[in-house]
Amino acid sequence: MNGAFAVLKRELRGYFLTPVAYVFIVIFLISANWLAFGVGFLYERGQADLSPFFTFHPWLFLFLVPALSMRLWAEERKSGSIELLMTLPLKAWQAVLGKFLAAWLFTALAITLTFPIWITINYLGAPDNGAILAGYVGSILMAGGFLAVGSCLSAGTKNQVIAFILSVIVCFVLLAAGYQFVLDAFSAWLPPIVVDGIASLGFLTHFEDISKGVIDLRDIVYFGLLIGACLYANTLVLSIKQAD
């Protein structure tokens, strides 16, 4: 576990030693607020809740999170430092977990830094703060899902552009699986149980449940399983590459 923690610490510091952290946080905060106020009409709606803010998170993450995850392994492969990392006395899962948790903590920090919008809404009215907290939890969980997918895909290549594009595509599929228009396309020719299955595999179904303020164990389990499965696949990719 110490090994995973050492990797986590190094990675997390790494974000702030390069412009990555600052660029990411600034772009994220500007876009999240612009989407909430400019596109979601948070102010004009006259309702004291943050749903116009959280609604856009999946789409924001679709592009921003792969930009963060694409470098996790591809950069190490490109620079050769992966040879150093993988010859230290670390289990592959420790390196995978350390890197993932550092990226996740960093994303959680960026999401938390949107707190002025929470202060604003509390100033404007009397929102259900429990629901807002749930929205934040859902948002962070979903970012974790995106990151785990991206980390796994990054492990297979030394090209960050490829890692980015693949991650956006896979995350888009996972995201779109929960949208009604996608489900309608399937329901025409698939039995309802399969359509429900597809819907339940999507990010959106689970994210929307949580962001409405209902933290259901199943939704948490969903993200937990998704993250676990992706990180496991990530270690498999590393060992396949090792024998390649």
Partner: protein, 311 residues
């Protein structure tokens, strides 16, 4: 002890390492020699556990590299080819990271850090970003990382590449001073390095072992071994001297390097013509600029053994 048995690594149609078997004992400093693409780096990567072999096995200190990789990796200090590092870090934070991963804690951590920083003279650049360092400093940071846990086994892929002559001398001293009870495996293109630090040399090409000997043993394979080179102050006399030297029973043949004005006399089988030639020189009153015994030339052995081949 490192024990490699039947190591084979196949990259698509290319067989980078081909049924390689050898043992290295503590106290040995093994030099890997070979043309580019001979399989040196691949072999070292397999021993260090970075890649898995297609066939064959490696054990280090009794542990199997594939099934007991953590035990193996904690006993090895490894400098990968090109000494990759994390460019955004400083040498100090990088070495602290390696110490954390290796579980070196407390006062041991501080003393080990001080020791390797001193051994590799990193004091002046500890707080500078690694990507701004010169090639020589980067290499030394990589070496410091490999020495940090005072490992029983050192695998160093081209440890002195990119260093200036003084730094090369320092690093070779360092390797020699540590080698008494360790296993050291280095790869190098610098043949003088083999004579300077190694007590055993493996020449490999196309993934196979072509020679396995001490550096002195390899030098003895050279046709220059026990040859005598003469240079006269007056180059015009070289031809006369040549015929006198050729007439000696101890000399099999001679070669004249016109440009350098040197005459080299190669020994007849099991002969050392040095005494005969120096007596002759005294008798005949040759006006000598140089007279020396050749110990054998590694570069020539290297070319002969590898067939002048680069793959």
């Amino acid at each position: 002890m490192i024990n490699c048995k039947g190591l084979t690594k196949q990259y698509g149609p290319l067989r980078a390492v081909d049924d390689l078997s050898f043992c290295v004992e503590p106290g040995e400093v093994l030099g890997f020699l070979g043309p580019n693409g001979a399989g040196k780096t691949t072999t070292m990567r397999i021993i260090a556990g970075f890649i898995t072999p297609t066939a064959g096995s490696v054990s280090v200190c009794g542990y199997d590299v594939e099934s007991q990789s953590i035990q193996v990796k904690s006993r090895i200090g490894y400098l990968p080819e090109g000494a990759p590092c994390y460019p955004e870090m400083t040498p100090l934070s990088f070495l602290r990271f390696v110490a954390d991963v290796r579980g070196i804690q407390g006062s041991k951590r501080a003393s080990r850090l001080d020791e390797v920083i001193g051994q590799l003279h990193l004091e002046s650049i500890l707080e500078q970003n690694i990507d701004t360092l010169s090639k020589g400093f980067k290499r030394r940071v990589g070496l410091a990382q490999a020495l940090l846990h005072d490992p029983d086994v050192l695998i160093l892929d081209e440890p002195t590449d990119g260093l200036d002559p003084n730094q090369k001398f320092d690093v070779r001293q360092l390797i020699r001073s540590m080698s008494a009870n360790k296993i050291v495996v280095i790869s190098t293109h610098a043949l003088e390095e083999v004579s300077a630090v190694c007590n055993r040399a493996l020449i490999i090409a196309r993934g196979r072992i072509l020679a396995d000997d001490t550096p002195e043993g390899l030098e003895q394979k050279s046709r220059f071994h026990n040859a005598v080179t003469i240079k006269l102050k007056n180059a015009a006399e070289t031809r006369a001297v040549n015929s006198a030297v050729t007439a000696l029973g101890e000399v099999a043949s001679t070669e004249i390097d016109i440009d350098a004005g040197r005459l080299t006399a190669f020994p007849a089988p099991n002969q050392r013509p040095l005494n005969a030639i120096s007596q002759l020189a005294a008798q005949e009153n040759w006006d000598l600029a140089e007279l020396h015994l050749e110990s054998g030339r590694l570069d020539e052995v290297f070319r002969t053994v590898t067939g002048g081949a680069s793959t």
